[in-house]
Symmetry: C2
Subunit: 156 residues, 2 copies
Amino acid sequence: MQGDGRMGIVAALVRSTFLVDAVYAASARKYGITSQQGQLLCVLMAGPRGMTELGAMLRLAKSSLTGLVDRTERNGLVGRESDPDDLRAVRVALTPHGSELVEEFYAETCRRIEDLPAALDPEDRDVLADLLGRVVLANEVPEVFLASEEGTGKKV
Amino acid sequence: MQGDGRMGIVAALVRSTFLVDAVYAASARKYGITSQQGQLLCVLMAGPRGMTELGAMLRLAKSSLTGLVDRTERNGLVGRESDPDDLRAVRVALTPHGSELVEEFYAETCRRIEDLPAALDPEDRDVLADLLGRVVLANEVPEVFLASEEGTGKKV
DNA sequence: CCGCAGTAGTTCGTGTTACGAATTGTCCGA
DNA sequence: TCGGACAATTCGTAACACGAACTACTGCGG
């Protein structure tokens, strides 16, 4: 924090996080769901997933996920189908209603988030997207590398 | 999402949010507190605050805040002192222990967040901080405006 | 083919977080 | 002084998150 208009990288990251969280929550509320359920639905847009897989993507313990899927299922937005190839496993998929809802939710959320950097020139927005994108990619610790490159102790 | 290495501004913002959230949570966990309690403590580093004031800063309903302060108080990290100037009001302040803990928590969290853009040149980091900082400032709806501009339904 | 370690998910109990509505006590302006 | 505004709490409800214990199925070694 350096007092004047300019902001340290840490403050900028933390505060932008706050901002995006708020947008996400507001958008979810508007569609009568919670942020977590919204996140789940968004992940499922790409296709059905198993519970374990979802847990990894959302970084949730499996017991947490059971509850989240339960509640979202109770809302009629997702369904569980048993995996034909593995009788233990389950595939969580969007219901027609869930699919319809997430379509709108996703679009609206994107729109709102896109509005956040409205004060920036298009050019600056591109630069921001590029830099922030690089930060994300650099930290998205691809599973593959974890085993080999253990040096930095950067474990989550 | 544009498939290749580059990332849209929306994806970049959302994913960086995910990243920062995770860092915050991990750091908090290490110090035996929750993210929310950590956030509360960080706000209080600058000095004692009233409940209403805290609610505005953390964007929490007052009833939510009562609980958060209760739990944090139970952990011995903050205390309530009654405001001498207004018998209705309360000032929440760090206890010595809380102060000590937040000092370390804050430092560590900053360190971890500062590490996120480690892959960027110092110059690029500055640009990122500047751009992201501008986004934050442009969206930090000063309380004053909230009352007058009610149209958007942007309420908490 | 059997048995057994490992995996996928659920259940259970606990604690945190968040909210709105109703309430209590205080402040202050008409 | 009275009544509206305000600070905070209480209460009831629901979502969320976790770990530990459990069930049921898989797949491998023997």
